[in-house]
Symmetry: C2
Subunit: 200 residues, 2 copies
């Protein structure tokens, strides 16, 4: 078992969701674990000058079609939430609040939020929904709701987002195998090949 | 043999080059031909608000690495031309000047320009280089140089670019299988799957 793979994603990124359904399986086939690292795409968009794909002229219709088509090919459920895009603060804050002490619960919550958001089309930015999903994993929902309003928890997400950008992350999903960067759900086959071959 | 596949690309698009090395082979395996349709990305960038990837903050270093890494994986030569990006007017005009009467020569010239540009790092926007490459295919270089300065030939590229955007093309490469759109070199595996299955 060598160093874990870093999987950066925004909770309101459809391609992040698609990648999340595959990344741990790919890593496991090559004896690796995956650290999930949610961040906020908003600051990255400020730097690149890009907008969310669905809001970009000419591209919006295409990507909406592509999200669903790629999901069908992977055999995973897909449904866009009605309001899109939104800043996914609550699930990302809840993730890092859980992460240090209960990393497995944090990852299970992230999966649950992604499934609710893009598998079922629910609003995964809603603190109440995040708390409800966390309750199903044994987390006290009231404690979670209080935690994600705390300054130190808010600050943690800011610093994780800053650290991601420092590392060059500008989109979601974004994967590092050791220090090799791969951007996009499209690159997961290359990620697998890199793990298999040690690079080319 | 059913309807040909449409392959849209800009002559100064590295991902267009990578896709150009695979698209005809993919199509041929499924009994299809490919019509190559160069267009200019510039007007599409005006619509999407995007810039060339290499000029986009945060993304530039990544995509430069990714171009070369993807080329190595495909086993095709890759070298960035020194000046990049540039508007690739000369090869696109020359292509359409040849296309109606000599489509096979037009495609062979397009391959030669792409190889010179991204296989060898030469400046494929230079009319003299395009003429030299065309001469190797039996085209009179002087006639080509005169043709690409003609108003009707310039107009043809404008109208082809307009038609591409009308059809929703906003990036390079962009492929239509029947009316199903696929954006990006990353989507060629899906293109092949679509041809094989008739869609999913």
């Amino acid at each position: 078992m060598t160093a874990p793979i870093d999987f950066y994603f925004d909770f309101y990124s459809p391609y992040g969701y698609l990648a999340s359904t595959r990344i741990d399986g790919i890593a496991a086939r090559h004896g690796r674990e995956v650290v999930w690292r949610p961040f906020l795409l908003g600051p990255a968009f400020l730097a690149t000058g890009h907008r969310p794909l669905t809001d970009t002229p000419l591209m919006g219709d295409y990507v909406t079609r592509d999200f669903a088509r790629s999901a069908r090919l992977l055999g995973v459920p897909f449904r866009m939430p009605e309001e899109f895009p939104k800043a996914a603060l609550a699930p990302a804050r809840a993730y890092y609040w859980l992460f240090d002490d209960r990393p497995d619960v944090a990852k299970a919550l992230a999966r649950a939020v992604y499934h609710a958001t893009f598998g079922e089309g629910r609003d995964g930015t809603r603190p109440e929904l995040v708390a409800e999903l966390a309750a199903g994993l044994g987390v006290d929902p009231e404690e979670l709701l209080a935690a994600i309003g705390r300054p130190d928890v808010k600050e943690r997400l800011k610093s994780e987002t800053g650290a991601a950008m420092q590392r060059g992350v500008f989109g979601s999903p974004y994967v590092f195998v050791d220090e090799e960067p791969f951007w996009g759900n499209d690159r997961l086959d290359q990620v697998e090949c890199w793990l298999q071959t040690g690079g080319w």
